[in-house]
């Protein structure tokens, strides 16, 4: 047997992630997309990048600085990875700004939205207005800071935009001093100026400040100035063992996030060399981590333009999720689910039934208890409101609010306190594990016995993201799943683990082995000359054990099709290793988020949905739930999702043996955008009766090569 551990068989996680961000950037480059959609994709790449710096680059920097020479699955040390990342990201950011300047801004201009890149480009009339705005609104909130021997370099906040300047006394007697001023984040970043012909001109706050910089240093002359932005290490290391109150500990660490080590410095192109040196020295940033940008800092601001009123012709038609057919006749959710399991596909189908489920439970006199896990919650969440109401109505409400959900820690602390105040039993999460599973359990006393209604999902209980993330959710009152759900919450509440699980596959201890066994089973079938097939859809794949098993399966003749949106450390097309594996990534209007696992199992067709990716963190360090879909009709529904995605010829990009992703060669194939397909499917299923079992259009077949 081949040694599947060879590092050459694996892609580096970080470089693979950069490829994903490149695929997002490709969307920003697509001239066939409405311009605000493209700008939005560009902003998404910038937002993704911020997190990548704060977490991934930061933690690699920590490892590198600690002198650890351990190699990753692709055989790279932290230092080597940082070098490779820096090289790729310099190219990437250049490409971002090229896209902005060469393609997006001219197109926006054509459509009547003009970005004034520099204050120097303001007309006299415009300059008057911006000056007035500066004097009345901006000036009072600014804190300019000069640096000299008596005034040390100030602490610059993480992700803040700042203007650095070299100033000298007007008489020119003293040496130039360094000064910096933070662009206030309490004010809107964009300022619109409107022409008589209706053209909108947008100037960013930092340019208005630059325009009026001399007013901040009255006795001085501005010799040169430029905008810069830093990103700090924001990877929280929480000492959970010693934390007497996890909530307070996390609050403390979040405050500290503002002052972590600087791991990225971006500056506007053409910045005075003296300022550059001053900043690089003061922040102690390596040369590799300094980026010169040909345009505004922090492109994620442009997401806001996507949401602007008007400009409808510049973005996709607003999509309204279709109602879920089963819940349309006004029956109580409990009554519907008692009859049969209901599977929902968001955002094509509305997320409202999930909110309604918790709401109805909070008002139902027969409901005894509600239990839910929350990872990322929307602002003003109706689910939180329903949980509060339930607790106030005297129901037993237990909520696990994962305080360690990265960058949602502050939000979650607020929710946790709010729920506690309403009388809910709030669990902050498990020691050393993040609870990423999405499960709601409602215990109801009914005539024939205690009934447990369960909702299991692949996405968060977040009604906002449910409109833009593709996810699936199941309502069921299956007794075995209900009993498992109780066991999950027992475990999360700190009670003993269950003796055995009936149907749910739960991480960290059991899920990985379950996946390995199911892959092994396909291997056995393939070796026995039977048909063997695995289709798995997930966000990321980097678990070495699983990848090795997939390589083994590929060699045994198992046909494997993977739909991996983001990181994929598995390599395809390696002779004698992975010829039987295809990988595709779908990046589209909605963020692909559902995790679906299909095992042919000699015709039995085992299908699972869940919250877990095939990643180390999901299988080893998180509480995750993967659940089976058993109803034949629902199984067909999930299969349809998989096979349509495997047939996607417009949004899918196929992973190549050379490590690149290429669009599907459409010769001889029809044009299919899977996300558009499901939009139509959702409204169509309201009108049509479901076809008879087994008479579906989508039948398992080999994936396109």
């Amino acid at each position: 047997m081949k040694d599947f551990k060879n590092p050459d068989y694996y892609d580096n996680r970080e470089l693979s992630w950069i490829k994903f961000n490149e695929r997002c950037l490709d969307e920003a480059k697509r001239t066939d997309l409405p311009i605000l959609e493209r700008l939005n994709f560009l902003a998404i790449t910038a937002s993704n990048l911020d997190e990548f710096f704060m977490v991934r680059v930061a933690s690699l920097t920590d490892v590198d600085q600690a002198g650890v020479k351990k190699r990753d699955i692709a055989g790279m040390t932290a230092g080597e990875q940082l070098k490779a990342i820096s090289k790729k990201l310099h190219e990437f950011m250049k490409s971002q700004y090229n896209t902005l300047n060469m393609s997006i801004l001219p197109k926006l201009n054509e459509n009547g939205l003009h970005l004034i890149k520099s204050y120097k480009d303001l007309t006299e009339e415009q300059a008057k207005i911006t000056t007035q705005y500066f004097e009345e609104i901006i000036y009072p909130v600014l804190t300019p800071m000069a640096v000299d021997s008596s005034r040390p370099f100030p602490l610059v906040r993480n992700k803040s935009i700042n203007i650095a300047a070299l100033i000298s006394s007007k008489d020119g007697k003293n040496e130039a001093e360094f000064a910096t001023v933070q662009v206030p984040d309490v004010l809107p970043r964009g300022f619109f100026l409107c022409d008589e012909d209706g053209t909108q001109h947008l100037i960013l706050l930092e340019e208005i400040i630059k325009q009026n910089m001399n007013k901040l240093f009255l006795a001085h002359k501005i010799k040169s100035m430029g905008v810069y932005r830093i990103i700090r290490n924001a990877d929280l290391t929480i000492d959970e063992d010693d934390a007497s109150d996890l909530l307070l500990e996390i609050e403390e660490k979040i405050r500290g996030r503002q002052w972590g080590q600087v791991i990225h410095l971006s500056m506007e192109e053409g910045m005075d060399k003296k300022i550059v040196k001053y900043l690089v020295d003061s922040f102690k940033v390596k040369k590799d981590n300094v980026y010169y940008l040909n345009g505004p800092m922090d492109l994620k601001y442009f997401m806001k333009l996507h949401g602007l009123e008007g400009w409808d012709e510049m973005r996709n038609k607003k999509f309204k999720p279709a109602p879920v057919k089963e819940f349309m006749n006004g029956e109580k959710i409990f009554d519907v689910v008692r009859e049969k399991d209901v599977l929902m596909h968001h955002p094509y189908q509305s997320f409202d039934p999930v909110v309604e489920f918790v709401k109805q439970a909070s008002e139902d006199k027969d409901v005894l208890a509600i239990k839910q896990t929350l990872y990322r919650v929307s602002g003003n969440s109706p689910i939180i409101a329903a949980l509060e109401a339930a607790a106030m109505a005297g129901k037993q409400v237990t909520v696990l609010v994962e305080l360690k959900a990265r960058f949602d820690e502050e939000n979650n602390i607020v929710w946790a306190r709010k729920l506690e105040k309403a009388g809910c039993h709030v669990i902050y999460g498990l020691l050393g594990l993040k609870t990423h599973s999405k499960i709601t359990l409602v215990v109801r006393r009914e005539e024939e016995g205690i009934k447990r209604y369960v909702h299991l999902g692949t996405g968060n209980y977040n009604d906002s993201t449910a409109k833009i993330y593709t996810d699936m959710g199941l309502f069921t009152c299956d007794e075995a799943i209900g009993s498992d759900a109780t066991a999950v919450f027992n475990m999360l509440s700190g009670y003993s683990e269950p003796e055995q699980w009936n149907k749910l596959l739960v991480a960290p201890y059991w899920l990985k082995n379950a996946f390995i066994s199911m892959i092994d089973r396909e291997i056995e079938h393939a070796k026995a000359g039977k048909e063997a097939r695995i289709i798995a859809k997930m966000n990321s794949l980097n678990h070495k054990g699983i990848i090795q098993k997939l390589y083994e399966a590929s060699q045994a003749g198992v046909k494997i099709d993977l739909i991996v949106r983001g990181i994929c450390c598995l390599k395809v097309g390696i002779p004698g290793v992975s010829e039987n594996i295809t990988v595709r990534s779908i990046v589209g209007e909605f963020l692909e988020h559902a995790r679906i696992f299909y095992f042919y199992n000699d015709g039995e067709e085992d299908i699972f949905l869940g919250s877990a990716d095939w990643m180390n963190r999901n299988l080893e360090r998180r509480v995750e739930i993967v659940f089976p879909i058993e109803d034949e009709e629902l199984k067909n529904q999930v299969k349809e999702v998989l096979f349509v995605q495997l047939d996607d010829t417009l949004q899918a990009r196929i992973y190549q043996a050379d490590g690149t992703y290429k669009k599907v060669d459409r010769r001889g194939k029809y044009a299919l955008n899977s996300q558009d397909y499901f939009k139509k499917w959702a409204s169509k299923q309201l009108k049509e009766e479901k076809p008879v079992k087994g008479d579906r259009r989508f039948i398992p077949k080999n994936a396109p090569s």
């Binding site: 005894l368 005539e447 024939e448």
Partner: protein, 510 residues
Amino acid sequence: MSRLHVFAAITIGSYETTLTIYQVNGSGDMMLLNKVKEKLLIGKDIIRTGSISNGMIRKLCKKINKLKKLTLEFGAEEVLVYGGTAIREAANQSFILEQIKMTTGYEVNVVTDPQQSFFVYKGVVSNSKYEEISKDGALILDASPGKLRVTIVNGGELILTQNVSLGTLQVREWVQETGYSQEEQAALIREMISYRLKELEDVFFADLNLKTLVIAGDLFLTQASWKSKKGDMLNADKFIKLCKKAQKHLTQNMSFTEDADILLPAVIICEEFFEKIGAKQAWMSGIEMNDGIACEYAMDHKYIPTIHDFKKDIESEVIKIMKRYIHSAEHNEYVEAVSNTLFKGLLKGANLTERESLLLKIAALLHNVGRYISMEESTRISAYIVKRSEIVGLSGKERKMISEIIRCHKMDYHKFVEYISEEDFNRQEKVIIGKLTILLGIANTLDVAHCQKFQTVKTQIRDEEFRITVNTLSDGILEKSFIKRHDEFFEAMYGYKLVLREKNQRFNTL
């Protein structure tokens, strides 16, 4: 809705506190809704100091309150709380119970060892596998942290229950004191267990042919490699392999496997028992005390049909105890039958229950077992033997009551009043003891010559009299003269005059 019943059982064990919640629906189907365990080693305090520390009590109350919340989540209408070995043996038991009552609102029933065994047995009986395994003989082994409990069934009948002070927690403490290395510990434990097992084997199950070893309790089933086996029936080969594998794993990973030092003795005990009794298979039942508690509660409340006559099990074991001491049991059986007749005759209006009928029956069967030791002090010694015997299914209080009934059954009323007033019983209990004592006294007197002269004994209540009518072929002078001694006692207890009427059948009359 009223046809649905949800109830919970909480057992406070030496090592962990277990909560199980059940429901019984209108069709009488019983279903487990939730089961959780909270680890708290209260037994450790008992082994070391004989009492449970204040800090530990505080933790225990906190944990019980946490479990109480879970019972609310299912709307449990009744929560039955039981204390096992550690609470029973705690010198400060009364104060612990009061603390629990104050903090959680729960009244804890402290159970005896035989009661604990009986609950486990009831749990086993309620399982569908019971019928199959009980036919060919089975030993139910509960190697719990507090005690080692053995129950034997054969031919569908309960043969024996026996408790041994060999809780795995205790074994752990002993082994730790020796300071032996991890490798040596397994051998030491095996030696210790073999020795105790030899005693049991010689006395109790040398001649029995037992096909199945039933592993009760799920503590060691939680050990990783055993967990998935719960409910399985393993053949000898598989079971022994499993034991060896677990021992190897636990010995090697003693320092970093949670509970390994408790699990190791448990595994060795199971293996030793399996080999000693020559079992052919092991049933990894995992059944616990709570299962039996629930089964009893549901049957007592008629939520589920009676699945087994547990009273008969108690009687059958009492007869076995009796036979250990009495060579010829005719007198005991006669006294038992007569006392039962008297009891039934008085049942109406005497404020007595079926449970008290059982107590009387046991007292009648064992009232003279002390003769085996001394003819002279037979009553006192009989009472002592009963007090010290492990009688399955009885609470400590009940056993003590039976002991007192035996001790007093020959006393006159005044002596009884004088004696019982000093004893640690409440008013109700004293009344029951009095009522049953006098019935045993009368029944025994009706066979004072130990030759069962009266062929039939009938009773009737008429005109403030309780009339006992006997048929005899021989002269009953002795009995008639002795029975007068009970007149005052009987009247004080039941309010009737005692009248013995004889239908003499020595002569044919018309």
